[in-house]
Each structure stands twice: as structure tokens, then as C-alpha cells.
């Protein structure tokens, strides 16, 4: 029997963030649907609503025109909606069979028969009696899939299934998914990987900032058109005046930056080499999750990688921690304002003291010099037009824009030679974005350099002198920004190559 799943006007609002804004979509069995979007676009929220983990504030879900009340994961199971999450929900020390029998309703003998049928039918090669911890990520995922199949699902939702898989395992997964699809299971495939959408799916819905921005047939799409839809590229090109930095000295030089992580949710970086000249802004574009987090942390010194060489103002700084790097006049503005760059529960002046450079004398002989810190904070608040002059205010009462101004002010008031910022305007209103863009352009004018890691192509084209694209932990060649077009960036961001 054909399955028809309809989502109607779903909204979910978290404090300070609209995760799903009036989302309506329709799915029919016999096709594989992609739900595409950047991290934070609202895909996961939608999926959690479909699987009953959270309830929407508004809106309804219909399965074959029956209005579903999904108030717990159990409801989703009852209605034959199966879900494979990005993070596995398996007991590592139990065997595969024990994991599968936990929520089974039949006796072990018939369960084993049914599991073996599934294994044979889909050509899955898994030992049932070994502990799950001995399995590879791909095999664990298959166990999760079997768990869904045992309940003969009508809908199977896969959340970022390939983020932990090898290429080989990914191919196997795609073959299985196509089989399920042929058998009439409706498949919803959530991802931010463009190539997978094109090779696997029939129809694609793109989400951005909680909204569905496009629904289309994948055969009419290319990597770059999808990339542009995902990041919301407007074609207007506002470029800043290009610095004449051709003959300037290189102030910052990275050689052989490699990063390997055991954590499958981190991205490995492969042999990154680049340099920044005095007064220059180097933009690093890319769809989020391609290694930007790791790159920022390595440049700031939060992660120290062996064998990497980072030369800053003729000194080797690769082994220094963030505090030591600040002494050499580097400054950092991370993506995560609320839980990394600042602590909301701390007062403004306490957050200012986080950038404790040597000449600040914030902490003389290990003691807090509150008067100095407060004076310094007052200056930041007025110089960077933060809309308060109360340094005792807890930072959580600042709006996103004002908090970002405070952070940038804290980093820039020391007149650093190099500022590294990651998505500095993410989630801010237009006024704050303009202020921050002007500030970044101004410091380039003062012969100070910036590295701008951003997922916002418009911002990159506006601010950068040269741009490179990071994709799967690899850096494209670095291009002068006057040669770069949004289309070119789209191709590179999707993993394609130009010329």
C-alpha cells in the first residue's frame, strides 16, 4: 500500500530561536526524499517532531490522511515511523541480538528467525552474538536499521547517516536504501552533503533558518544551485575597496596543518597551507561541518597539532596556547558567542577579563585588580558602542549584537596584528552586521590582518581580499576575491572543482 506523509504548518520555537517556522512538506512512498540544510537550519528539530521526541508548538502530521498525535517516540513506532539517529542508541556491551531483543514483542526464537531473514534479504553481514562494541560504525548503523525493519516501517528517517561512515560503507548504505524504497518504504534522508543528495535522492527540500526555502526534483539541481539555496546567497555583490596588499609582507604563515581525530563527529584536516599579508583579509568559505571548527581551534591554540608550523610575525607559535598567542598580538572571536567567547552568567567586566593579556595588569601578582578591569571594560563599552555603560550587568542581558560588539571590542582594544573570527555575524540583525562589517574593514585599513572563517558567502565576498574554500577538511587554492563569483564558490563548497 502506498504511503503518504504530510507535514502541515509545523512550528517550533525555542527561547531566542525559531527552529521550525511554519514548515509544510509532502512525501509519497516510492521516492527517496532529501531534507537539506546547514547545521541549525531546523532539520533535526523537524525530525525529532516526526519521531515524537519533541512536540511542535503548532501544526500537524498526517500519515495516509490520518492525523497523528506524536507525543512520544512510542507513538512514532506504533505508527510505523522508524528513525535512525546520527548518534547510535545501542548498548555497547550487549550483543547485537540482545540489543535487538530489548524492545521486541516476540519470543527470542522467532525474533532470531526474522532477523536472519532480514540479514539474508539485504545482504547484511553481521554476527548476531558479538558485543556491539566490536562492530564498525557502519555495522552499528545496520543494527539500528534492522531494529527499524523488524517493525516493518512505512516511513524510515535517516538523520545524517553518512557522517560516521567510510566511502565503502556509504555505498552499501545507498544500495540498501534504494532497495527499501523499491519495497515501498518512504525514505526521508537528512543531510548537509550535496553530492549525496544528487546521487541518492529523487526530491529535495532545502531548509534555511527554520523555513523550507525550496522543494525541487534533484534532476533539475546541481551542486552549486543547491549550495546557494542552502546558504541563502543573494547575488548582489557588494565589494569593499580592495587593499593594495600585493607587495606587503606575510605576517602569518601556516604550513602542513594536519589534524586527525578519533572522534567520528570531528572533521580531519589534510595538509592546509596558507598565509596572510599585512592589512589583508583572508576569507575561508565552506558549508559548516567541513572542518571550520577544527581549523579555528588550531589557529587559536585550543588544539595543538604536532608537526604543524605556524609562523606569526617571524616567530614559531604552533606550540603556544591561546593566552600565549594573545601576547604576540593575535585575537580570536569564536563562532559560539554564548558558551565559548563569553559566559552569560558572568558580569560584563568579568567577561572582559577573559582576554587577560600581560600589559593589562588585570591580575597583578595573582590578585584580581577589579578597578583596572572595570575601567578597561568601560572603555570597550563606549568605543564599540555597546548599548549599556553598566559593567556590572550580567552578559546574558545583552542582545546577540551587543554581546558580539563586546567580544570584538575585547579582542580588538589591544590593537592585535591579526584577528581570527569565525561566523562573526551569525544570527545578528542587519544593524549589528553592518557595524561589525565596518569594524572589520576599518582594522584592515589600519594595516591589521584578519582571517574570516564564514559560512556566509555574501559576507566573504564583501570583506575578503582573497578567498579559499574548505571542503571535507581540505582547502581549495586561494583566489583573489575579484576573480571569485558566488557560482564558483558554490561549486567549490559542494566539492566540485573549477577550471
Amino acid at each position: 500500500m502506498a504511503t503518504d506523509l504530510r507535514i502541515s504548518n509545523i512550528s517550533k520555537i525555542y527561547p531566542g530561536c525559531v527552529a521550525n517556522d511554519n514548515v509544510s512538506l509532502q512525501f509519497k512512498s516510492g521516492k527517496i526524499y532529501a531534507l537539506l540544510g546547514e547545521n541549525g537550519a531546523g532539520k533535526s528539530t523537524l525530525v525529532k517532531i516526526l519521531s515524537g521526541v519533541i512536540s511542535p508548538d503548532n501544526g500537524e502530521v498526517f500519515l495516509n490522511e490520518k492525523n497523528l498525535k506524536l507525543s512520544s517516540p512510542l507513538d512514532a513506532k506504533k505508527n510505523k515511523i522508524g528513525m535512525v539517529f546520527q548518534h547510535f542508541n545501542l548498548f555497547e556491551t550487549l550483543s547485537v541480538f540482545e540489543n535487538l531483543s530489548i524492545d521486541a514483542t516476540e519470543d527470542n526464537k522467532s525474533l532470531r528467525v526474522r532477523i536472519n531473514e532480514i540479514l539474508k534479504k539485504y545482504n547484511f553481514n553481521i554476527e548476531l552474538d558479538v558485543p556491539v562494541l566490536n562492530l564498525s560504525a557502519g555495522q552499528k548503523q545496520k543494527v539500528e536499521i534492522i531494529r527499524c525493519l523488524l517493525r516493518s516501517p512505512k516511513v524510515l528517517i535517516m538523520d545524517e547517516p553518512t557522517s560516521v561512515l567510510t566511502e565503502q560503507e556509504t555505498e552499501e548504505l545507498f544500495i540498501s536504501l534504494k532497495k527499501f524504497c523499491d519495497e515501498g518504504i518512504l525514505i526521508i534522508y537528512i543531510t548537509h552533503k550535496l553530492k549525496e543528495v544528487l546521487s541518492l535522492c529523487d526530491e529535495v527540500a532545502v531548509m534555511r533558518k527554520g523555513k523550507v526555502v525550496s522543494v525541487s526534483q534533484t534532476q533539475n539541481e546541481r551542486v552549486e544551485t543547491l549550495a546557494n539555496k542552502m546558504v541563502g546567497q543573494k547575488l548582489a555583490k557588494i565589494k569593499k575597496k580592495i587593499n593594495i596588499s600585493k607587495n606587503k609582507d606575510e605576517i602569518f604563515k601556516v604550513k602542513h596543518l594536519n589534524f586527525y581525530s578519533d572522534d567520528p563527529f570531528e572533521t580531519n584536516l589534510v595538509n592546509l597551507n596558507f598565509s596572510v599579508k599585512k592589512g589583508e583579509c583572508l576569507g575561508i568559505a565552506g558549508i559548516s561541518g567541513n572542518g571550520q571548527n577544527e581549523l579555528f581551534q588550531i589557529l587559536s591554540g585550543e588544539i595543538i597539532t604536532p608537526d604543524t608550523s605556524i609562523i606569526f610575525r617571524n616567530k614559531e607559535i604552533a606550540k603556544l596556547n591561546p593566552k600565549q598567542r594573545r601576547e604576540y598580538l593575535m585575537a580570536f572571536s569564536p563562532e559560539d558567542r554564548i558558551s565559548q567567547a563569553a559566559v552569560p552568567e558572568l558580569k560584563i567586566y568579568e567577561n572582559v577579563a577573559l582576554n587577560n593579556f600581560k600589559s593589562s595588569n588585570f591580575f597583578e601578582k595573582g590578585l584580581v585588580n577589579e578597578r583596572k578591569i572595570k575601567e578597561h571594560s568601560k572603555k570597550i563599552l563606549s568605543d564599540f558602542s555597546v548599548n549599556t555603560d553598566n559593567v556590572e550587568l550580567k552578559s546574558q542581558f545583552l542582545s546577540g549584537g551587543n554581546l558580539q560588539k563586546l567580544i570584538l571590542g575585547r579582542e580588538l582594544i589591544t590593537a592585535p596584528e591579526l584577528l581570527i573570527c569565525y561566523n562573526p555575524t551569525w544570527g545578528l540583525d542587519v544593524g549589528a552586521i553592518n557595524y561589525i562589517h565596518e569594524t572589520l574593514i576599518k582594522i584592515n585599513g589600519q594595516e591589521k590582518s584578519t582571517i574570516l572563517i564564514s559560512t556566509d558567502t555574501e559576507e566573504l565576498l564583501k570583506l575578503s581580499d582573497r578567498i579559499a574554500v574548505i571542503y571535507k577538511g581540505k582547502l581549495s587554492k586561494i583566489m583573489p576575491s575579484e576573480e571569485v563569483t558566488p557560482e564558483k564558490l558554490g561549486v567549490l563548497m559542494g566539492g566540485g572543482s573549477i577550471d
Binding site: 498525535k69 585550543e302 558558551s339 591580575f363 595573582g366 590578585l367
Partner: protein, 359 residues
């Protein structure tokens, strides 16, 4: 439908007031339990909370029990504030007592003003070393400090057992599981004739002042505060995370060691199997009841010490087991956590009608 939401702004005054609410609820809860057990609740509560401290001796006993609780909780506040979950203060107390007691036994037949300071110092170092084990394992091998510190409690208790029945047992002790009595030079001076309260209380008060200074006036205190709120921020600011873990564990272990050595050189006067009625565990409640604030901890240690005393009087006058003390300690923690939950979250009851209309 019930919905739970985080409150954006929690008033500081209320934050320090909720422990009192928890205490009041604990007393009410205790009254109900006494009523169910068939006692007159008012009278029973009087035996529990008033009688023990209605005379000078009782007050001295209160301070005597509050001293180790306060010391340990002060140390723990350093760990807890910086997101390090040292659950093994009882073990650090025991090991501090073993090392301090060992030094005291070396001097069992000698007198001298230098002996007590040596014993105290040895106790603090003992606790510090024992606390370094989970700290080093955490920083260099990524182990979980909760498990390691907790399991080490049993290691130290078994070591103490072995020592008092084996190599350190009193040769003239008729095989009782205890060591020799310490010499008078190894004993804490008593503050008043006839009362058991001893000079150890000054150690606790000094720890309070010192910890207040470190936590609120120094760079170390600032780093502890930031790390406790956000480890990501601490990393970003470039704090030396590993060093800080070691330091807070050392402070915490030293305080627990001091508490241990205070017990054996104070009221006990020798080593035996039962040197602490789980002060190290109870101090965890004290630390949280005192909001990890040095002065709050003074107050909390006296409240919790009273549950120990009350349990003893209740055993004598009402013939109920002294383990009711633990019931009261448990209730304090329970009500504190419950009121904290209501403090940080609000519960919204959405009208069902609106939902029904939609369907």
C-alpha cells in the same frame, strides 16, 4: 499539558534563600515521619533539633561535628565550582588520618611543641596526595574522577583496617583493632575544660577566610569560576586546565586530610576503624547547602552537624535508630535539589482546551 521552561533571570537573593526553604521542608518532612512512626511530632522534633543544643556541652558537640564538615566542604567547593566531581573526600580524610596518625605514632612516647604541627602537616599532605591520584588520572589518562575518587575511599578504609589490626596495632592492646594512644603533644589543645571542642575549629575558620580570598580575589579563583561555568570558555581563554584540576584536587584533599587529622588528634586520640561517621560524604551535602560559598558553608555545616547530634539524642530518648540522621541529611539534599529545580525552571500548565480546538 505540562511544559517546563528555563527561567531567564533567577534573583540572587532567592538563590541564597532556597536552602532555608529546604531546611524548613526537611523539618516538616521529619515531623511527618515521626508522626507516622507514632511519636508526637512536635516533641520528637524538639528532641531532635532543640534538646541537643540546649546546653553548653551540646553546643560544643555541635561545633565539634561542624568542624570537619566545614573543612571538607570548603575544600570540595573548589572542586565543585570548577566542574571537578571529587566524591572521595572520605577517602582523603582517611588517608590524611593514616599519614598524620603515623607521624603521631612515631612520637607516641615523646613530648614537644613541634609534634602537633608536624602531625597536622602530615595529615594535610596525606589527603593532598590521595586526592592527586584521581586528579592525575583525570588529566593524563582521561579517567572519570567520580569513579576513581569514590573507589579510592574503600582502598583507604581497607588500608586503615589493615594497619590497625596489623602492623600498627597497640602491642599492649589485647588485639583490639586500634593503635596506641597518641602522646599529649600530638593532641589538639582543648578550648574549654570539660568540653570536647578543640583548636581544630580555628583551622576550619582559617580555611573559610582563605578560600573566600582565593575564590573571589585571585586569578586562580577567577579561573575556577570560569571553568565551572564553561569549560569551552576556559579553553578559549587559554587557562591551564590541567594545572587547575591538579590544584583544586590538592586543595580539596588537603582540607579533607586536615579534617581527618583533626578528628584523630582531637576527640579520638588514636587510630581505629571508625574515625569518621562518613563526614566526607555528608560534606558534599554541606557544600551544596552552603551554595559553595565559604560563609554559607559555615552555616550549612552547623545545620548538618545538628542532624548528627539530633540522631543521637533521638536514639536515647525515643529509641529510634541513629540512622535517622541520614534520613534527615537525605531529605535536606532532596528538598534543596527540588527547590533548585523550581528556582531555575518554571512549570507551565497549558490549557487542554486550546489543544483540543486544534485537533
Amino acid at each position: 499539558m505540562i511544559k517546563i521552561e528555563k527561567r531567564n533571570d533567577v534573583p540572587m537573593a532567592l538563590y541564597f534563600f532556597t536552602p532555608f526553604i529546604a531546611i524548613i521542608l526537611t523539618i516538616l518532612g521529619g515531623g511527618i515521619i515521626f508522626y507516622i512512626l507514632g511519636f508526637n511530632p512536635i516533641e520528637a522534633l524538639k528532641f531532635y533539633f532543640i534538646t541537643p543544643i540546649s546546653n553548653l556541652y551540646g553546643l560544643s558537640e555541635l561545633l565539634l561535628k561542624a568542624t570537619p564538615l566545614c573543612l571538607i566542604a570548603i575544600g570540595l567547593s573548589f572542586c565543585f565550582k570548577s566542574n571537578n566531581w571529587n566524591i572521595g573526600a572520605e577517602g582523603q580524610l582517611t588517608f590524611g588520618a593514616i599519614v598524620g596518625g603515623g607521624v603521631a605514632l612515631l612520637f607516641y612516647n615523646q613530648e614537644g611543641f613541634y609534634i602537633l604541627p608536624l602531625v597536622i602537616l602530615a595529615g594535610a599532605i596525606g589527603g593532598m596526595i590521595f586526592a592527586l591520584i584521581p586528579a592525575v588520572l583525570k588529566t593524563y589518562f582521561n579517567t572519570n574522577e567520580i569513579l576513581v575518587s569514590l573507589m579510592l575511599v574503600y582502598v583507604s578504609k581497607l588500608l586503615l583496617d589493615y594497619l590497625v589490626v596489623g602492623p600498627w596495632s597497640n602491642p599492649e592492646g589485647f588485639n583490639f583493632p586500634e593503635t596506641r594512644q597518641f602522646s599529649d603533644s600530638s593532641r589538639m589543645p582543648l578550648l574549654f575544660e570539660g568540653l570536647r571542642i578543640h583548636a581544630g575549629i580555628f583551622l576550619a575558620l582559617a580555611a573559610v577566610m582563605l578560600s573566600w580570598f582565593i575564590l573571589y580575589k585571585t586569578y586562580l579563583g577567577f579561573q575556577i569560576k570560569v571553568s565551572g561555568l564553561s569549560l569551552k570558555t576556559a579553553k578559549y581563554a587559554g587557562f591551564k586546565g590541567k594545572t587547575m584540576i591538579l590544584v583544586v584536587f590538592m586543595i580539596s584533599g588537603a582540607c579533607a586530610g586536615l579534617a581527618g587529622v583533626g578528628e584523630i588528634t582531637g576527640p579520638i586520640g588514636q587510630l581505629h576503624r571508625m574515625i569518621s561517621p562518613d563526614y566526607g560524604f555528608t560534606a558534599i551535602i554541606v557544600a551544596f547547602l552552603g551554595r559553595l560559598n565559604p560563609f554559607g558553608i559555615i552555616f550549612a555545616s552547623m545545620v548538618v552537624a545538628l542532624t548528627y547530634l539530633g540522631a543521637e539524642t533521638a536514639q536515647i530518648f525515643l529509641q529510634i535508630p541513629k540512622y535517622t540522621g541520614q534520613v534527615f541529611q537525605g531529605m535536606i539534599l532532596f528538598f534543596l535539589l527540588a527547590s533548585d529545580y523550581l528556582l531555575f525552571f518554571k512549570i507551565k500548565i497549558l490549557s487542554l482546551k486550546k489543544n483540543e480546538l486544534r485537533h
